[in-house]
């Protein structure tokens, strides 16, 4: 079992192991889910609009930019989630800038090249246009943060900003925030890990406070916080935070789940990562029928 981020994220989203296939070209790292994701199960069960089911992704995870639906003969693109990320914002911005005109020939050419480059990131060539609601979201984002990319937050602070704005403007029913900054520990500074966790912690505090303050979310929102993989605890390494070397601790993950209907306490038995999807499905009242794992029953009141 590969303990990389894309694989772990797909384990969480599909409730299955190895439910993906390589969709990469030479020297790329790109996976494509081959099983339905939670987004599809949820939208099919409750007839939700695409902007009510969101995946929020970071700049350093281009390989996870296309996890909005699973390829195959099941639910598919019609039940996809919307993606909020800088990549999607740049697609919106370049399209609008080209439509707005007023550019010199050189500027137009550069913009067209930038847009082509952004579009070719999707190897399937199947990036759907955003819904009108998400278009409006990006229009407001652009008004606030402009075109230069230098005013909006970056890293995991960006993800928190996208998530809180989405909660206020799009009112998603299900949202996955793909935090990623702890991975900068690969550069060799243990402080990157702890500092990134502090940034995520601040982000979670904002998200929980926002849910508590908004009647739309208050008393009906469940938070599931879980990593996509563990980290090495190699006692011989200078920076023991890798996760690519099949160590036991890289396979060991945890989850904190809280909200209405969830009891306080600790589930003191080994639980598979594939159980997370089934647990989320059970708590929201739908079935992740193709998930391998079963819901963690004892945590429900």
């Amino acid at each position: 079992m590969n303990t990389s981020h894309a694989e772990g994220t797909l384990n969480l989203l599909t409730g299955r192991y190895l439910a993906y296939r390589d969709a990469s070209e030479f020297l790329q790292d790109r996976l494509e889910p081959t099983e339905p994701t939670l987004f599809e199960y949820l939208r099919r069960s409750f007839d939700l609009a695409s902007h009510e089911v969101l995946l929020i992704n970071g700049e350093d995870r281009p390989q996870e930019e296309f996890f909005t639906f699973g390829a195959g003969d099941h639910f598919g693109i019609d039940f996809r989630s919307e993606m909020l990320s800088l990549h999607r914002y740049k697609l919106y911005r370049t399209r609008m800038q080209l439509l707005e005109g007023g550019l010199t020939d050189d500027a137009r050419l550069a913009l067209q090249e930038e847009r082509t480059r952004l579009l070719t990131v999707d190897p399937r060539g199947a990036t759907p246009d955003p819904s009108p609601q998400v278009e409006a979201f990006w229009a407001r984002w652009r008004k606030g943060f402009g075109d230069d990319g230098l005013r909006n937050p970056r890293g995991d602070r960006l993800l928190t900003e996208l998530a809180t704005r989405a909660m206020a403007e799009l009112k998603p029913r299900f949202m996955m925030v793909n935090y990623q900054d702890p991975d900068y520990v690969h550069w060799g500074n243990p402080s990157h890990y702890t500092r990134a966790i502090a940034i995520i912690d601040e982000g979670l505090q904002r998200l929980v406070s926002m849910a508590d303050a908004d009647p739309f979310y208050r008393d009906n929102t469940i938070f599931v916080i879980t990593p996509d993989c563990g980290r090495d605890a190699n006692p011989l390494a200078n920076v023991p935070f890798q996760h690519h070397f099949n160590s036991r601790s890289a396979h060991e993950v945890w989850a904190v789940i809280f909200g209405p209907g969830i009891g306080k306490g600790v589930v003191d038995r080994p639980v598979d990562q594939s159980a997370i999807a089934a647990t989320i499905a059970a708590s929201m009242g739908f079935d992740a029928t193709r998930a391998e794992g079963s819901a963690i029953g004892e945590m429900f009141l």
Binding site: R154, W187, N189, L236, N238, V239, Q242, R248
Partner: protein
């Protein structure tokens, strides 16, 4: 019945072998132990430099006692006799370390800066300036490729002259390099090959919990024992490799420097090599350039091995303290 002749006993050869073995132990055991720690590795570095100087000057006709770890020359006073060797090792170590830092910092500092630029760029999301880290690293590689092949002969010259200023006598160094020809790429190839275990060790350490999962269950004292064994093994490899490489460099210098001195007596005036100056032909500039370019090409994999080792198990000091670049300490 004819009696078979008695086998001829050759105690001389056996004695020579035993003597060599004892010399290896006498040099290698203290050298390995000293190389295991950064501060004491300075003594090992000094000893290696003194051995180089002894080897070259002996070839130039000088009669000197072999440098020891602790004791000074026999004909000196009690204190000098008791600790003179250690003092000389420390002095030579400091001089060598200073010279190596001046020679290597221009590129190792760039590597350190490239690494810093990389994580700073990652963490603060300056992707618009993402080219800074890689281009700084590549610049460091280019400078290192130019410098690293010259280091062994620079050290041989420094050791022979026994003064810091010798490390920066670039014209003399250039003339020795010109006389060394194919031996420069040979030294570089050996340096690259012998540095492989350092990168491999980083890989083995990083993947250790994969091929030895029991490591995660060890208690602190057991881990401490394993760490000590790894440190000692790497120190032994570093010290013996350096001993071999420096010995080879001394031999190459001892052959090339007298020829260089014979060709340009004015340039070498006052240098130890003039004692053995001999007539030589002017080497072809083109051939010298070709050999050096090959050596530069062989230096690039050496730098990539440092990068690979750092990628696998990072420690910032290893950008500047590779055993073959500065202190023998393997880090």
């Amino acid at each position: 019945m004819t009696a078979l002749p008695r086998p001829v006993a050759r105690p001389g050869r056996v004695a020579r072998l035993a003597s060599r073995f004892l010399a290896l132990v006498h040099g290698g055991v203290p050298g390995t132990l000293l190389t295991a720690l950064p501060v004491t590795s300075l003594i090992a570095l000094g000893w290696l430099t003194r051995r180089m100087g002894h080897a070259t000057r002996t070839r130039f006709g000088s009669a000197e006692q072999m440098p020891g770890w602790l004791f000074g020359p026999r004909e000196t006073g009690r204190i000098t006799r008791a600790l003179g060797g250690l003092g000389a090792n420390i002095r030579a170590g400091l001089i060598t370390f200073a010279a190596l830092l001046v020679w290597t910092l221009p590129f190792t500092a760039l590597w350190l800066g490239a690494w810093w630029a990389g994580w700073e760029n990652s963490f603060n999301k300056g992707y618009e300036q993402a080219f800074v880290g890689p281009s700084t690293y590549v610049l460091g590689i280019l400078i290192s490729a130019l410098v690293v092949p010259a280091l062994p002969l620079m050290l041989a010259h420094l050791a022979t002259e026994d003064r810091l200023g010798a490390a920066f006598e670039l014209r003399r160094l250039r003339s020795v390099i010109a006389q060394s020809g194919w031996r420069i790429p040979l030294l570089m190839a050996l340096t690259t090959a012998l540095s492989l275990p350092f990168a491999a060790a980083r890989g083995l350490i990083t993947t250790a919990t994969d091929w030895a999962p029991w490591l995660e269950d060890l208690i602190e004292s057991q881990l401490s024992d394993i760490k000590s064994q790894i440190t000692l093994a790497l120190a032994a490899w570093a010290f013996f490799s350096l001993w071999f490489l420096r010995h080879l460099a001394a031999r190459i210098y001892a052959r090339a420097a007298p020829r260089a001195a014979g060709l340009k007596p004015g340039l070498w005036d006052g240098a130890q090599a003039t004692e053995a100056a001999e007539p030589a032909r002017h080497p072809s500039r083109m051939l010298t350039l070709v050999w050096y370019l090959i050596a530069m090409g062989l230096a690039v994999p050496f730098t990539f091995l440092i990068l690979a080792g750092q990628f696998l198990d990072h420690a910032w000091w290893r950008w500047t303290f590779h055993p073959f670049l500065t202190l023998p300490w393997p880090g």
